[in-house]
Subunit: 192 residues, 4 copies
């Protein structure tokens, strides 16, 4: 059983801190202290703060995509796939171990100004859309969904996921039933 490498410690500490404190409030010192490594190792391994931030976001996104794909793979109809997708999305966002907040702050929907190769994040994130488009297309084919454009409907549903998630994890006034209500809202709108 190997210990985590210092590079990995750094990434883990960064994910937690970027998520909790945001980009600006997270400093090199905080990260290296938390990871228990030297300050300079950060640039040695990751180049600069922005690149580390991106690495954190992509790491979370990778796990996120895995979870979404697993969820849709278990669906027995297009409609079921959409619902599983939405549930998996929302569940992942409140999983304590997922470091979801980093992705919130780093995703294309964030209001942060990044000079970062935002393109990389954009193109990776588009896979989330593709996954949903796929199940919507299936649902239209198998008759479990109303007839809509799959691409634009995916964009609407993901917009709702984004907004609901932000309501829950960022605002102080989300109702306990929010995620359930959201699923009902989606179901009513697209069920055949």
């Amino acid at each position: 059983m190997m210990n985590k490498s210092k590079k990995e410690s750094l990434l883990q500490a960064a994910k937690e801190l970027f998520g909790e404190c945001g980009y600006v409030e997270t400093t090199f010192k905080k990260i290296s202290d938390k990871a228990g490594v030297a300050l300079g190792l950060l640039t040695h391994h990751y180049g600069n703060k922005e690149k580390l931030f991106l690495a954190c976001g992509l790491d979370v996104l990778e796990h996120f995509l895995k979870r979404l794909r697993q969820a849709t793979s278990e669906a027995d109809s297009g409609f079921d796939g959409v619902m599983r997708f939405c549930k998996a999305y929302l569940d992942f966002s409140i999983d304590r171990d997922s470091n979801w907040l980093v992705l919130v702050r780093c995703s294309p929907y964030s209001d942060m100004k990044t000079k970062t190769d935002r393109d990389i994040m954009d193109s990776m994130f588009s896979q989330v859309h593709q996954e949903l488009e796929r199940v919507i297309a299936r649902g239209i084919e198998d008759g479990s969904l109303v007839t809509v454009d799959s691409k634009s409907t995916a964009q609407v549903i993901i917009s709702l996921m984004v907004g609901a998630n932000r309501t829950r994890v960022l605002t102080p006034y989300a109702m306990p039933s929010l995620y359930k209500d959201v699923l009902d809202f989606v179901a009513r709108s697209i069920k055949a």
Copy 2:
């Protein structure tokens, strides 16, 4: 014909810069340069950066609320009111003169860390929710809407507004039909 006062110039410049560049990238120097006034006037009039940021956000929010209220007041049914609310929300967000982006970065849905009296913004923003709850309640009463809980449905719909808006103004991949699709999506889900 009075010229704008220096205090007002400052607020206007700040709204534009906070919106365009974000909180961190917007500096006192940039603001005072753009406004064409002395640096020191900023703290003199607004206390500190956070307070100015809040003032910008509240200023936009005020106009936003006015627009929403006018929209709902013209409705001839609850359902119509909801649709008018949503349309007004989305229209305002792409109005060139509304300085919407400041509010995006300052609202409870922002991923920024603020020490600011976030409470003030939260409580002001809750009026947006109340406005929507009101028309939903009316729609349930007048039979134009499905029977749902007005408070939680308002939260879902506003979540969708938030997400759709972010898709449009922050990401590079929003489809041209997004706002229209969103309205259709809402209508399908709640129309009686």
Copy 3:
């Protein structure tokens, strides 16, 4: 009698330190300590280290040019003008109060890598050449000099000034008679 302003103190301290320690070894801290002002005032007034360096060099260059022009203006022949020019050049370089070394490190003949608007320094320095070209041209006309091309001869003589000066102020082995020998060398080469 006003005291020197903080901006002026900064420039004076910088001239001394850049001259004595070189660009790299001169730090913001050393400069602000020596000038007795706050660290941040440096960028406030001069933008950045490079610009301050340039300001130092140009300040010395300005005094240098004044001295050269005065020297040539007193000449009673072209040949005399050239000799006065050379003497003034060399004298200025060992004047304790001239902060000559900054200019050595900042001039077009320096081996430092500068991103600085080197162009500004180059074009200012070309005035030194022009001044010498003028007296050479006069000497050819009045018959006190051999017939040569004034522009290229100026370049040769200034090359000799540059080299002799570096020998004197940078190397440990300059002979005491160097400057005198240089003047003799020039006289032999160009006297009619």
Copy 4:
């Protein structure tokens, strides 16, 4: 056919980089990258950066001296020797393969601050002077030169070489005929 040893690759890369970028801008990483060897080999073989810099300079100086000595050895008079010396000096400085710039930045005439055993460089460089003194002495003896002090005249002529060379390789405004003009200037000044 042996390949260059890693130690030699390192020296070659260092000569090019120190010459092109200067001492400060040249980093261990750049050197090891360019040489295609491990970072740690640098200190392993050369101790530290300063020592490597000196090694580079001395390597170039060695070739330089060889060239100068060959040039003077072919002279058929003292005057001819001086002219050959000067020509060889200037030619070497624009030989693409000589890595001359390292020596410019490392020589006693450089404006860099070095903690390096500057003494070593100084004493090696004095051999350049000695070589010129020798031919000047010969020229006085054989009557091909004016009667001057050989040591101090050597210093003047080398000053001119230094300055002319810097004009050519460091400034943007050297005239094409500069090196030729310099040789003429010297000839006029010392020919018997």
